[in-house]
Assembly symmetry: C2
Homo-oligomer: 302 residues x 2
């Protein structure tokens, strides 16, 4: 794996290009070899009920790779295989925070939808991965949250003191839980729809991110009950079905690819976002926090 | 003005309280003296057409105080006095970025709605204020964006090298412009509805923030044209009227107050957000970026 320090790359660049490339141009012209296909077996496809105008609403979630959160992800695969989410709903939409879905009666033992057998209780220790040679990547910047915010195989990762963990950027998907840290099964999920709530890092398990259709979650009406839960069943958007993409008919499987965060193209993209000079920018920022460096993801070509 | 370094306050606190207060509890119990009333003359009230269910949609924007962006704010006051926005619309909604409103034909000289007389061209230099004794405040943290991110009279402010400027946090409102930096009149406005796009700091004028009703902007359908502009007139939500609140009948004037960022309550709130220990938090972050420390604002009591 080729490791590149973005700060070094920026320093080594010619002093001032005549026409610096915008981040989008760098992504558009990145060589095919810098793109990594996402396996359909790592995609969770959630189909919501159509909107009032009859428009289909699909949300595609990429699941995180090892070594992160794999216990919960095993549960999520079991829940999808059991068709458990079919007939559940979007239950909470809180502005500048999260959209949450699952069983609207999950908190009520008498009414709760039974979970499929075989789900595992994942221990608190699984919120962290070991930060060793398996998780070493580009060090972008220092933040108050960690010694280093980095990218690893396409994901935003925090790292400190030998541990590494995923970061709550916009669109990331996590596992709701009760007070004890080992109570999240994966049946109750949420997606971030606001400024990165990084106080949740290391406190809730992140299992993936929305890579397509987030507007089908983020533009839903906000709930009016405490924590912005919906008040009535009529407000809750039904979830028609949720499947691992590789369990769908081949023609229906979504295909996406991401720009390798270990590529020179990504380093150039990140440097250009941190120091915008193209088009109307008159005062480059000189830096960027990791959640303002979204990993480019697009439908797979060809 | 009492200045408090939040890091110092945290260090001086007892080693570990038995029941640390959650940020919301600190805000709820802050003394009345720590709250500052917002003058109705500093509020811009925008009433959108009712939604499909007939529900009224109001957006309340607090305008920034001196020394920031006052040239554009003078224009905004003139535009509101001329009722210029009445009959314009929301024209662009881009996920995890901005909602933009004004004249949908503003780019077409033949069709553009004439601006009221007397608007001023505000020079590029006005993107920055002088950082001297008039703008000195709590230093929260260092970021890659500036030598120091601070709060000043209730607003998130970046500061470096003798200059200070407002920060593009969630909900902040700015002035759209064309390529030349002095082309924004204030007629075309946007609000941030995603992760802080801090690359815009010092590149576009910020004039205020949405303090009530942001869900009436952030939950709108996303546009499908380039830059997420709406394609058809039918998609654009009409703006019925926009007024400075003090020009409304007294009974209709919204009244809000904010928690003074120079108060000990705010310092305690920020420290508690940066190091959550209450309720289910098992791993305090040890810090927070400035946009994850939203200034508490509420309807005025009494």
């Amino acid at each position: 794996m080729k490791l590149l320090a973005i700060a070094l790359l920026a320093a080594a660049a010619p002093p001032q290009q005549d026409a610096p490339k915008a981040p989008a141009d760098i992504v558009a012209t990145a060589p095919a070899a810098d793109w990594v296909a996402i396996a359909p077996s790592d995609l969770l496809v959630m189909d919501l009920a159509p909107d009032a105008g009859g428009r289909a609403r699909r949300v595609v979630i990429q699941l995180m790779p090892p070594p992160f959160s794999q216990g919960w992800i095993e549960n999520i695969r079991a829940l999808a295989a059991a068709h458990w989410w079919d007939g559940t709903s979007i239950n909470r939409v809180q502005d500048n925070y999260v959209v949450q879905w699952g069983d609207p009666n999950g908190e009520d033992k008498a009414k709760a939808k039974p979970l499929p057998p075989g789900l595992k209780a994942v221990p608190q220790g699984a919120y962290l991965a070991r930060h060793d040679s398996t998780v070493v990547s580009v060090q972008i910047l220092d933040t108050p949250y960690a010694q280093a915010d980095t990218f690893f195989r396409g994901w935003p990762i925090g790292a400190a003191s030998g541990a590494a963990w995923p970061i709550h950027c916009y669109g990331m998907v996590g596992v709701g839980r009760d007070m004890p840290p080992d109570t999240g099964s994966g049946a109750e999920l949420y997606a971030v729809i606001g400024h990165a709530p990084r106080q949740l890092d290391r406190n809730i398990a992140l299992v993936g991110r929305v890579i397509d259709g987030i507007e089908n979650l983020s533009s839903l009406p906000r709930g009016t009950e405490p924590l912005s839960f919906y008040k009535t069943a009529a407000e809750r958007v039904p979830i028609l079905r949720t499947r691992i993409a590789s369990d769908l008919p081949a023609a229906e499987q979504p295909r996406f690819e991401y720009l390798s965060t270990e590529s020179t193209s990504f380093a150039a993209y990140a440097a250009a976002r941190a120091n915008r000079r193209a088009q109307f920018f008159i005062a480059p920022a000189g830096g960027s926090d990791i959640c303002n460096l979204p990993v480019p993801i697009r439908p797979q070509k060809g």
